[in-house]
Symmetry: C2
Subunit: 591 residues, 2 copies
Amino acid sequence: MTMHYTPPLRDFAFVLDEVLQAPQVLRALPAHAEIDGELMRQVLEEAGRFAAHVVAPLNAIGDREGCRFERGMVSTPLGFAQAYAQFCEAGWPALACAPEHGGQGLPHVLDCALYEMLSAANHGWTMYPGLLHGAYACLAAHGAPELQARYLEKIASGQWLATMCLTEAQAGSDLGQLRTRALPQADGSYRLTGDKIFISGGEHDLTDNIVHLVLARLPDALPGSKGLSLLLAPRVLPDGSRNGVQCTGIEHKMGIHGSATCSLHFENAQAWMVGEPGRGLAAMFVMMNAARLHVGAQGVGLAEAAWQRAMAYAKERRQSRAPGAAGTDVILRHPAVQKLLMEQRCRIEGARLLTCWAGLLLDLAEHDSDATLRRRHHERLEFITPVIKAFLTDQGFQCASRALQVFGGHGYVVETGIEQFMRDARITMIYEGTNEIQAIDFLMRKVLADDGRRLHDFLALVEADIDGAAGLVEQGRLLKDAVDNLSRFAIGITDAAREKPVLPYYVADEMLRLTGHVALGWMWLRAGRRALSALDSDPAWYGSKRDAACYHFAFVFAEVQQLSSVIEGCLTTGLPPLPTDLDHHAAQEAG
Amino acid sequence: MTMHYTPPLRDFAFVLDEVLQAPQVLRALPAHAEIDGELMRQVLEEAGRFAAHVVAPLNAIGDREGCRFERGMVSTPLGFAQAYAQFCEAGWPALACAPEHGGQGLPHVLDCALYEMLSAANHGWTMYPGLLHGAYACLAAHGAPELQARYLEKIASGQWLATMCLTEAQAGSDLGQLRTRALPQADGSYRLTGDKIFISGGEHDLTDNIVHLVLARLPDALPGSKGLSLLLAPRVLPDGSRNGVQCTGIEHKMGIHGSATCSLHFENAQAWMVGEPGRGLAAMFVMMNAARLHVGAQGVGLAEAAWQRAMAYAKERRQSRAPGAAGTDVILRHPAVQKLLMEQRCRIEGARLLTCWAGLLLDLAEHDSDATLRRRHHERLEFITPVIKAFLTDQGFQCASRALQVFGGHGYVVETGIEQFMRDARITMIYEGTNEIQAIDFLMRKVLADDGRRLHDFLALVEADIDGAAGLVEQGRLLKDAVDNLSRFAIGITDAAREKPVLPYYVADEMLRLTGHVALGWMWLRAGRRALSALDSDPAWYGSKRDAACYHFAFVFAEVQQLSSVIEGCLTTGLPPLPTDLDHHAAQEAG
């Protein structure tokens, strides 16, 4: 049984060249006039080779060994540092950074694909470079020129890694409760004091400096999240001395053991403001949106890697007679196993289309020559980002769990190597904003806040594609029904919220998932039709893709019925009453 | 924050006394003429106290320490052996065993409740006594008198523990591939040789003898599962010498670390036939059905325990302003958290009703004075067993994952103690027959094999209750629609299978889950109506229960729409074509 990771290069080519026509889209942008399909394929091939040959072999050992913490220092698992050095040598950190800062200036969509493959190969390892591009983008957008001069190239090259220091013990989803203080100094710098927890890569042995981006509060700051500022505090100061930041421990976690999740104590640490004082959240959100897109891609990568192992096992393991077969058969021939595998495949391939579509939006939002279009692409990206983060990580975890199920009892045994994917994938539903927070962000800010304008812009794209080509007529009809429902529900929720402002919060999750299914259905409709039109050129490959599109609509897409039924019910008969304390023990404990 | 386990005694009283009227049902049986509600309450109170005070405190340490294997011996985690000794002293193993074999002769429904609470308190520990009653029932039904005399009382008292030795490396779901051999000896005994894996409690330090029930093949046996016999091989022989069975290792697993999952090597081990040669599976299935019911109860218990922790955290953790609130609020006031918690509560309380209903069926099937009724109860139990096993363990795992989600990032940290429940719960979807196998068993053997007779018997019970009482009219209508769909689908699948015999295998999972929702909806309808009628006596408690019933139908029950849509689609437009090898990499690898 082959247990390595095979980069899904053929599928990336299908997604980028054939469905999204990424080379044409990108070439229309002045910054990417040189891009062609061949170049993109070469980059992905190299990226895939790196993920499969350098990073994937360290995945199991990273889980087994984990990180060690001793006297303020963190040692990463054996091989991690060397792989990271190779990563930098090959120029991967700089992939989507601007040439003027030492970057390669390649499109973001390739960065998304790179991170899908890295996460598939080794989620724990990928956490270290994972925040690199976000920190780069944040500094590039908001950093003062001196700060950029000092840090941008080092970050772009990967020579120094970066962190996002947000969470404190009392402030998780609610950043307004942050207590870390920044005191202004005469020289224009600041002194930071406070305690942060859950800082990925807060301390490690991969680079000699770490650039911390820290949310903190100035002495005269407003209370709540409006009073937050973003500051940069390096582990090592420009004069080579250690800054006042100390790792006080690392978490013992369910998964991603190779990633050091640190508690950091800042004590009079020297720091510099990034962006305007009091505008820290806005500056930080430059990181957060790209980060959330990458988290969605992690969901896809983890599901893909788990799926590959389950496929390999299903092709090899013989158990029982399949229906209609003569003797015992490989379990791949058993309908129950086929269903587990096909559902994963549909969710993964649809999700890959969606993350790549969003990656292209990031390129368009940055580089379109028309400012109006840039804004529209940016709005589309903002609209779809919470859906990608929440929907694709929910299903990434589900897919990893289903991959485990294919192995039966062997899946529960650590040495088999599949259960790690499920444990690793679980965090993606939580970090960078829990999936519940994503749903509220999506419905309240991205749908209701502008009376559904962005929703209708998105649905118009979907509808244009439903009507715009032939094939998969029945699937197009199913998708159209869901589009109509979604549109109707948005209006219904707006109306109902006037009388009952709390109502949207109770259907936010369903609205996000319904939108996720519409987005995935849209992608599968496009993929299925492309497969139909190219069928003659490679009947096996395109036939398989067309069949997957049909399977998606027959089995996976049906969840829209459940979601629509819940929302419809809440709109027509109102929210069910909630028990005051929700608790079935209350009476007993009181008694 | 209180992290202990609170036995849900008030809810058990509601389920048993008020909804299922268990005391009346049981008193009608000659064997249980002495049972009353007060006695049942006392037993459950004691059971709850044992689970909460003796077993629960060992849960985290069992996970952390795990079992140790050294030179063929297994040490269980600190405290496990002492807790087991207390368990035996208090007479819990004998709870539902017959008085003539030293048992207490109490109803099975109490045993179900006991095992829900034990699993909630400590799943790993509960694995040891978990098979005790199954082995007892198997021996009581099929063992020769000498064998019964030698082993029944020791098992009933818990003095000796038992195992089920089925799985071999090449034979998991497919027992027909078993290779372990049993050679007949002149004295009527047998000699066993072969290797078994995944044997829970195959070796440990809780009892000085272990009674292995082993599936094996006689020299002249038919090939496949018809050639299997069941044999009893004790670790220690009647003369006090060690038998030829050796533990060769224990598994390193995702969860239930406190439970020793052993590989056993039998080498010329002395053994005795249980039941008829070649009828081993039939004898084993006496164990399997009770075991599957208990696995369903494990799903409920693990979900309950995880839910309790999430509730406690949600009542204490302050983050952000809830909609409509003035300042930061405990997260229990946030709709997104309320939804996570209410869905768990609905699934748990509905499931508790269902397992207790099935536990009562077990009592009725054993003790009804009318043989025709005994058979009917037995058939009902057989019908619902795969649903309970698969549906309740799927949702048990989901509930544990949602409980983890309530904790946010803290949920991913081992010390918080919640992630263990998710890891532990994951095995319940696999062992005692994977949930996929349950679905096939359900649809092929329990629904289609007798042209839907058992399904219609079950649905008639549900319909009688829909029409039989007032209140929750709209919910009753939703349930009736699902009943009608299920009935129609069974006929449609039978018809479609004539032309396409493979079709049922592709909708087996959906049919099982649809039946599971009908069963849970049925239970919630009964619970909700009972709550309505008792509202005046305790408005807070019954009001909360009524609200939960409404919540269940508004949010949880809606999954029937998805399931019905999938089945309907497969029946009307046919199965979607499946790609020949399911694989999106195949073409690439070939090329």
